[in-house]
Every structure is written in structure tokens, then in C-alpha cells.
């Protein structure tokens, strides 16, 4: 057979390409539900980590089913707000109908917040209230090599940070990837305050945040950047500023007034622990 014939070449390549495309489409479709389930469980475990229920590693060992069970048991309320802080709709929190925002959805909302040619509508931002009193909100932005995103939880005063978890697609392992892999970086956020009145709601400072003699950060909304990961640190800083600024209307409207302790809530300004 003459395999160098033009007609043969065209038919051969067409057949190969069609067969391969059909196979890949079939595999992709049949595995999609499993992949989505994995991604959803991963997202949920990131939120639970930020809300302070367990470390990401512990949640990773639990498996998907247990993570979803835990979320359904611990979530108080989840809803979507607009830039003015108005509640648009609620998100499912029942075990069988849990709704969270995947990184892809966060990306879309990131375009909507920032505007520009990729904007598809007005921002719809998710808020997650957990039974331990913490409020979790996502952030999303650009790192050095690809997108970075994460979740920050706030105490009842809606100003003090209770925990944070960050994830990335392709930051440098050992440097930028520390936003995800280094628990001590994420721990730096705990106890800091987001300053919604400032244009820089939160700062990740190169060269070190101001500290007292005991090494504790003295300015509430500043923490140290990661050595050797300036671009990732700057990207994370910008992502946090952009997203928290978008939430600021809701935060100022719902924060308890005249209250200076992280644990206080409601009208009487009393801490439940006291």
C-alpha cells in the first residue's frame, strides 16, 4: 500500500484525530463528576481550615465524604452579596446540595470586581458563616506564575482575622508556594485586623512589619512578606486588598458597633466567653 499518497494521508490523519478526540471527550465527560467532587471537597476543606476547624493536612486525611459531612454540620449560613452589601440569594448548605464557589467561579467574580473587558456582570460575592461564629470570605488574584486564591475568616467583630488558607496553581515550590505550604505564614494572619477604612485593607510588607521587642507585630493590618517570593507576596497583598475592599460595605454594615473585643457580637457587646 502506498502510504505517501495525498488522499491516504488526509484520510488517515482525519480518522486518527477524530478517534482521539472522541475518546478524550468521552473520558472527560465520564470523569467530570468525580473531578468536580474532588475540587469541591478541596475547596470546602480550605474554608474549614480558614475557619479554624482543623488543619488542611488533617482534613486531607479525612477523605471527601467526611469533609462534606463536617461542612454540613458546621455551616450556619451561606449567601451571596453585591458590592453594596445587600444579600442577593442564599447558597445551599444541606449535605446533598452544598454550594460553594470553585476557583473558576472566583476567577469570574474577580473580573467582575476589577472591571475591564472580561467583566460579565455585577460582582456576586459569597459569604460563609460558620457555627463557631467565624465569617469566611474568599480572595482571588494573580501570583507570579498563575492564579492564587484563598479564604480568610473573621471573628465575630468582623475585623479580627481568625484564620487564613491560601492556595495557588503554579507558584515556585519552596518560595511562592509557601503561601499554601507554610503553616507559619498563614498563622501570621491570626489576630491581625483588617482596616476597612484604609485603601490598603491589609498589607503584606516586604522587609518586615513593625514589631515590638517580643517580635509581635505592632501594626494591626501588616504582616511579613515571604523571603524570596516578592511577586507572590505582592500578588497576595493585591488580591486581599481588592477582595476585602469589595466586601467592605457588608462588613461595615454588619460589624457590631462600639465593640473592641474580637469575640463580642450583637447589641449588648458582651463576649460569650466572659
Amino acid at each position: 500500500m502506498n502510504t505517501n499518497n495525498n488522499l491516504y494521508t488526509v484520510i488517515y490523519t482525519s480518522v486518527i484525530v477524530i478517534v482521539v478526540a472522541a475518546l478524550l471527550a468521552f473520558v472527560s465527560q465520564s470523569l467530570k463528576s468525580r473531578q468536580d467532587a474532588n475540587e469541591k471537597a478541596d475547596t470546602i476543606s480550605q474554608m474549614l481550615t480558614a475557619a479554624g476547624y482543623a488543619s488542611k493536612a488533617e482534613l486531607g486525611k479525612l477523605g471527601n465524604t467526611a469533609v462534606l459531612d463536617k461542612y454540613a454540620a458546621e455551616i450556619e449560613k451561606a449567601f451571596v452579596i453585591d458590592l453594596e452589601g445587600n444579600e442577593l440569594r442564599t447558597l445551599g448548605i444541606e449535605r446533598e446540595g452544598i454550594e460553594v464557589y470553585s476557583p473558576k467561579q472566583l476567577k469570574r467574580q474577580n473580573y467582575n470586581i476589577k472591571g475591564g473587558p472580561n467583566k460579565t456582570g455585577d460582582p456576586e460575592l459569597p459569604v460563609f458563616l460558620f457555627k463557631n461564629g467565624r465569617t469566611v470570605v474568599p480572595i482571588y488574584g494573580a501570583g507570579l506564575w498563575g492564579p492564587i486564591w484563598g479564604y480568610i475568616s473573621f471573628e465575630k467583630d468582623l475585623g479580627t482575622i481568625g484564620g487564613a488558607y491560601f492556595d495557588h496553581e503554579s507558584e515556585t515550590a519552596g518560595l511562592g508556594a509557601k503561601i499554601k505550604d507554610d503553616p507559619s505564614f498563614q498563622a501570621e494572619f491570626i489576630g491581625e485586623k483588617a482596616d476597612f477604612a484604609d485603601a490598603n485593607v491589609f498589607d503584606i510588607v516586604k522587609g518586615g512589619a513593625p514589631k515590638d521587642a517580643e517580635g509581635k507585630s505592632v501594626v494591626d493590618n501588616k504582616i511579613d512578606a515571604i523571603t524570596g517570593a516578592t511577586m507572590t507576596s505582592n500578588g497576595l497583598d493585591a488580591a486581599i486588598d481588592t477582595w476585602l475592599a469589595a466586601y467592605s460595605a457588608w462588613f461595615s454594615a454588619n460589624a457590631p458597633k462600639g465593640c473592641d473585643k474580637p469575640c463580642c457580637s450583637g447589641e449588648d457587646h458582651k463576649c460569650e466567653e466572659e
Partner: protein
């Protein structure tokens, strides 16, 4: 098993190792060797991709039109790479590792070992030896990956497979080891060792 088949399997592991002797697949060996786990999953993925694409293309070898053979090879290799990536993403156990390796699984397609072995071996040999050749070359690649990852994870993070080894003794992880240049230095050392054992590789 006859001697020729045995040679096909053993040669890529040491004497004709794709990384240290043929100097193929250097790029990804710098990128994915920060942790043992990552290197292991990468090695297994490459073994599957090289093995099965060599097998498929060896089966098709008499029908492939000569002028578009590279394109046909690419289509088959790309298909295998996407399949591996999709399958890794679908299981709870491998999802996290796939996320960690991110683009590098997809970049197996640009790994010269895959195309190199198909061009040099699979298109001229029967399916079974081609399959073995693919697997063995993937394994030779994986072997070097694991050796490099062993040193990089141990010295760079103080752990092996994520288990703390050196940190408990107050070891301060070395950041240089984590950066790609150190992998190149380590690879250089491995090539040096191999060349001093295998005198026939030394240039006169």
C-alpha cells in the same frame, strides 16, 4: 526472555539512561524533583505515557504516512498525557499530587524521551519490544528523578515523602536546594559518577 529483550529493558536504566547519557528530559527533571512524592507520581506517569504510546505507535507503524508521522506521534502522545492527567484528577488519593505537579503532567508531552523513543525505536520494532523499551526508558528517567528528589527533599525541606527526617534535629532547610539550579548541579554530579564508572562514555 532472550538477550536482546533483556538488553532493551536494562540498557535505559543505567548504560543508556535517557537523562544522564542521552541528556533527554532534563527540563522536567529540574522542575518536579522538589519532593519524592511528586517525583514518584511523575515517574509513574512518564512510564505509562512512554510505554503505551510506544505500543500504540508500534502497532500503527506500517500504516502511518511518512510525511505526517511526527504529527501522528504527537496526537497519540498528547492523548496519553491528557488521559493520565484526567485520571489523576479523578481519584481522591492522587488529586492533591496532581494539583501539586500542575502543569508538569501536561508537559510530559514535551518530554524528549517520549518522542525520542518512538522515533528511534517504536517505529522500527514490533509492539512488545517497543512497549518494553518505552517502559524501561520511563523507568530510567524515573530512577534519576527519584535520586535527585531524594537529595532535594532531604536537604531542601528536611523531609522524605513528607515525613520529617532532619528537622527534628534542628536542621535548617537549605533554600538553594529547592531552586532548579541545584537540581542541575546534582544531575551534573550523577553524570560525573556514571562517567567515571563507565569509561566508554568519556570523550577522548
Amino acid at each position: 526472555m532472550n538477550a536482546k529483550l533483556k538488553e532493551t529493558i536494562l540498557n535505559p536504566l543505567f548504560k543508556g539512561n535517557p537523562i544522564t547519557v542521552l541528556v533527554l528530559g532534563i527540563c522536567s527533571s529540574l522542575a518536579v524533583t522538589v519532593t519524592m512524592k511528586g517525583a514518584l507520581v511523575m515517574a509513574l506517569s512518564v512510564i505509562v505515557v512512554t510505554g503505551i504510546s510506544s505500543l500504540i505507535l508500534s502497532l500503527l507503524r506500517k500504516t502511518i504516512p511518512g510525511r505526517v508521522r511526527i504529527i501522528v506521534q504527537l496526537v497519540v502522545v498528547a492523548m496519553m498525557v491528557i488521559l493520565v492527567d484526567q485520571i489523576l484528577k479523578s481519584f481522591e488519593a492522587t488529586y492533591a499530587i496532581d494539583k501539586q505537579l500542575s502543569v508538569y503532567i501536561g508537559l510530559i508531552i514535551t518530554n524528549c524521551i517520549v518522542m525520542g523513543r518512538i522515533e528511534a525505536f517504536a517505529l522500527g520494532n514490533k509492539p512488545w519490544p517497543s512497549f518494553l523499551d518505552g517502559v524501561a526508558n520511563g523507568a530510567g528517567y524515573g530512577l534519576i528523578l527519584l535520586i535527585v528528589a531524594f537529595f532535594r527533599e532531604l536537604l531542601g525541606s528536611g523531609t522524605l515523602f513528607g515525613i520529617d527526617i532532619l528537622n527534628r534535629f534542628g536542621y535548617v532547610p537549605n533554600n538553594l536546594v529547592i531552586l532548579p539550579p541545584f537540581a542541575l548541579i546534582l544531575l551534573g554530579c550523577i553524570v560525573w559518577v556514571q562517567r567515571s564508572i563507565q569509561k566508554d562514555l568519556q570523550e577522548k
